[in-house]
């Protein structure tokens, strides 16, 4: 019985053998979604309108709506245009290892950790200075994040 599905990213690169096709595709989509979220957050923070953005980068307004509506397979040129138009910024490449990503040990408070899975002991996280977590999202003493599907 599967009860809680989580991906362990470090497993993807844990061996030197071929990485499964499904994992590669999963990571491609994550990357795409991360970029979309990155630019969308800037767009929402700046509070500019889609029409203004379209004017600034000489795009059709309908294209802006399409681009900001959902993650897509953007070209590097599109990313550059959006970032300049939204925030007057350029993308500076950076990456992180998929190994050694520390898990965040919290889950929605109402959700009971399934009993048939192994729980990792909770490591309390200090509250963030800019704490954006709602009360319901904060770690609770009896919960933990699960490593894998049961």
């Amino acid at each position: 019985m599967t009860t809680l599905l989580t991906h362990s990213l470090s497993e993807v690169v844990a061996t030197s053998g071929p990485i499964p096709e499904g994992k590669l595709a999963y990571l491609q989509e994550r990357q795409r979604n991360n970029l979309y979220s990155f630019i969308l957050k800037k767009f929402l923070e700046r509070g500019i309108s889609k029409a203004d953005l379209a004017r600034r980068i000489n795009y059709d307004p309908a294209r802006i709506t399409r681009l900001l509506g959902a993650p897509g397979n953007w070209t590097l040129d599109t990313i550059s245009d959006l970032l300049v138009g939204v925030a007057g910024e350029e993308l500076v490449p950076a990456s992180r290892s998929l190994q050694n990503i520390s898990p965040q040990n919290y889950m929605p408070e109402w959700l009971r950790p399934p009993e048939d899975t192994q729980l990792r002991p909770l490591r309390e996280q200090p509250p963030r200075a800019d704490s954006f977590l709602q009360k319901k999202d904060r770690p609770r003493p009896d919960s933990g994040i699960l490593d894998r599907a049961a």
Binding site: M1, T2, T3, L4, L5, T6, H7, S8, L9, S10, P20, E21, G22, K23, L24, A25, Y26, L27, Q28, E29, R30, R32, N33, S37, L40, K41, L44, T65, R66, L68, G69, A70, P71, G72, N73, I101, S102, P103, Q104, Y106, M107, P108, W110, L111, R112, P114, E115, Q134, D137, I145, L146, D147, A149
Partner: protein, 185 residues
């Protein structure tokens, strides 16, 4: 008779195996809850009949995790409009059946479900948007007014009724009634 909230019911359905929860990947925040029926779990965990399907389902999983991570989502509350949204409320709006759109690559997929509470989505079925896929064992939805859309929405309502006979999905007038960090497309 003891009253159970719909969140209690979800926990109960998870315990009896009727639903599973999609958690975030290691290190990602767990901000919204996505409950899945066993059929959807099978799509995300495999085994898959070939590499093309494995890749497609890997991308679908990343798209669903995007929701779980609490990332900003563009919503459409008006059926047949704003096809670019990440998720949209389908016709009829009062039925409160939604789809999450995983567009790329072909075949585009639609995951149907309903909001049980703020930031809690119960995903029930997955259908191809335009082209029939044998591995999904479901006909393509095609145009928005097709019978296939209608049947998928009805099926969703039936599954919901069997899972939560005493609860209705939430109703709302704005994205913030359904999910935090959501906006109208």
């Amino acid at each position: 008779m003891t009253y159970m909230s719909i969140l209690d019911e979800i926990n109960k359905r998870v315990a009896d195996g009727s639903l599973s929860i999609l958690g975030p990947a290691q290190g990602d925040p767990f901000k919204r809850t996505l409950a899945l029926t066993p059929g959807l779990v099978g799509l995300l965990t495999g085994p898959w009949p070939d590499l093309i399907i494995e890749r497609r389902c890997g991308k679908l999983r990343a798209d669903l995790e995007y929701f779980v991570k609490g990332e900003p989502i563009a919503m459409s509350l008006t059926p047949y409009e704003h096809k670019t949204a990440f998720m949209g409320r389908l016709d009829k709006p009062q039925d409160e059946v939604w789809d999450i759109r995983s567009r790329d690559p072909d075949p585009g997929l639609r995951v149907f479900g309903r909001y049980a509470a703020l930031d809690v989505f119960v995903a029930m079925i997955c259908a191809p948007r335009s082209v029939e896929q044998a591995w999904l064992q479901r006909r393509a939805l095609k145009e928005g007014t097709s019978l296939e859309w209608h049947f998928a929405i009805l099926e969703c309502q039936e599954i919901w009724k069997s899972l939560f006979p005493n609860h209705e999905p939430i109703h709302g007038d704005a994205p913030s009634d359904y999910a935090t960090n959501a906006f109208l497309v």
